[in-house]
């Protein structure tokens, strides 16, 4: 075993950013699930709302990708 404590903390931090991915997963699943339940109630209105669906998914996903960004910064920039 070798290496310093700073590197250890760095890797632990990178691993912890994976929790952010779980949050994004919940968010994206929430968007898609609510879209589906709405779409099944009124299928004729669903086709016009796919753009909104993707925008909502993109915004929910962006927060998860920020955690990926933090991981990248910790790995390669710190």
């Amino acid at each position: 075993m070798e290496g310093n404590i700073g590197e250890l903390g760095q890797y632990i931090g990178v691993g912890l950013t994976a929790i952010g991915m779980g949050g994004a997963a919940i968010g994206v699943g929430n968007v898609a699930g609510n879209f589906l339940s709405g779409a099944l109630r009124n299928p004729s209105a669903a086709a016009g709302q796919t753009a909104t669906l993707f925008i909502g998914m993109a915004f929910a996903e962006a927060l998860g990708i920020f955690s990926f960004l933090v991981a990248l910064l910790l790995m390669f920039a710190v």
Binding site: F54, I55, I65, L69
Partner: protein
């Protein structure tokens, strides 16, 4: 990213991140700004593929389109409808730019899925330039079209006066985080998907080292590679679509800043 040599006699003979290394095409020397690299090669391939679809594909101008012409017409029609629906009729003036963005990103993503290919959009240097161009364009259009009324985007008049300063701070942050999220979303999705495929591909070689465990792991990981690849085809299109649709949303904000 990973620059040091990887791989041993046994085990993973390639690194999952090796596919993102920028290499010179004709020599092993250092990479300057003028060096032809694999990025140059695949950027040229994207331009040629776009030209092949949009120029050669529609050359017949048939009333009943053949396959490539109807592909080109579908892409054109989809983006035209998207710009019209989201940015409004006055946004259609900027349709050529948004169509260019979409064709570039979608071909970069799809050509990157070819085996041994280089995914141009997996580099934040590429997606960052695209996102910054969108951000600057939209900001300039906003100020040119609306003057100082563009700042109404940050000062939400429909909200009670007491919470407007708080909303202004949030709106300013969310405005300036746009190029960051736009570029990282595309690059992150591409890096993550391709790295996962390569990780599973690395597991698939286990049968060569350990036949007992490999008989169990190798079929599963080959199935996983196939599944992930199919999923990545979907992701490649959806990310191009999302990039374009968010550009349209930002354009709508610039053209009609009042909430």
């Amino acid at each position: 990213m990973a620059t040091e040599a990887h791989g041993e006699a046994t085990g993973l003979s390639f690194h999952p991140m090796d596919q993102f290394i920028v290499r010179p095409l004709f020599s092993d020397g250092p990479v300057h700004w003028y060096t032809p690299t694999n990025v140059t090669l695949w950027l040229a391939a994207i331009v040629l593929a776009t030209l092949a679809l949009l120029v050669l594909g529609t050359r017949g101008r048939a009333i009943v389109p053949n396959r490539s012409q109807s592909m080109a017409e579908m892409a054109y029609g989809m983006i035209h409808k998207m710009v019209g629906d989201i940015a409004g009729k006055d946004g259609l003036k900027y349709f050529p730019y948004i169509m260019t963005l979409f064709m570039f990103v979608v071909f970069a993503n799809f050509l990157g899925l070819l085996p041994m290919a280089f995914t141009v959009t997996s580099h934040i240097a590429v997606t960052g330039v695209l996102a910054l161009a969108v951000f600057l364009t939209v900001t300039i259009i906003g100020f040119v079209k609306n003057g100082t009324h563009f700042l109404d985007l940050f000062w939400v008049r429909s909200a009670p006066l007491a919470i407007r300063p708080v909303l202004a701070v949030i709106e300013v942050i969310s405005y300036f985080v746009r190029p960051l999220s736009l570029s990282i979303r595309l690059a992150g999705n591409m890096i993550a998907g391709h790295a996962v495929i390569k990780v599973f591909a690395g597991f698939a070689a286990l049968i060569l080292i350990n036949p007992g465990l490999g008989a169990l792991v190798t079929p599963v990981s080959i199935l996983a590679v196939v599944g992930m690849y199919a999923f990545e085809i979907l992701v490649a299109f959806i990310q191009a679509y999302v990039f374009t649709i968010l550009t349209c949303v930002y354009l709508k904000d610039a053209l009609h800043p009042s909430h």
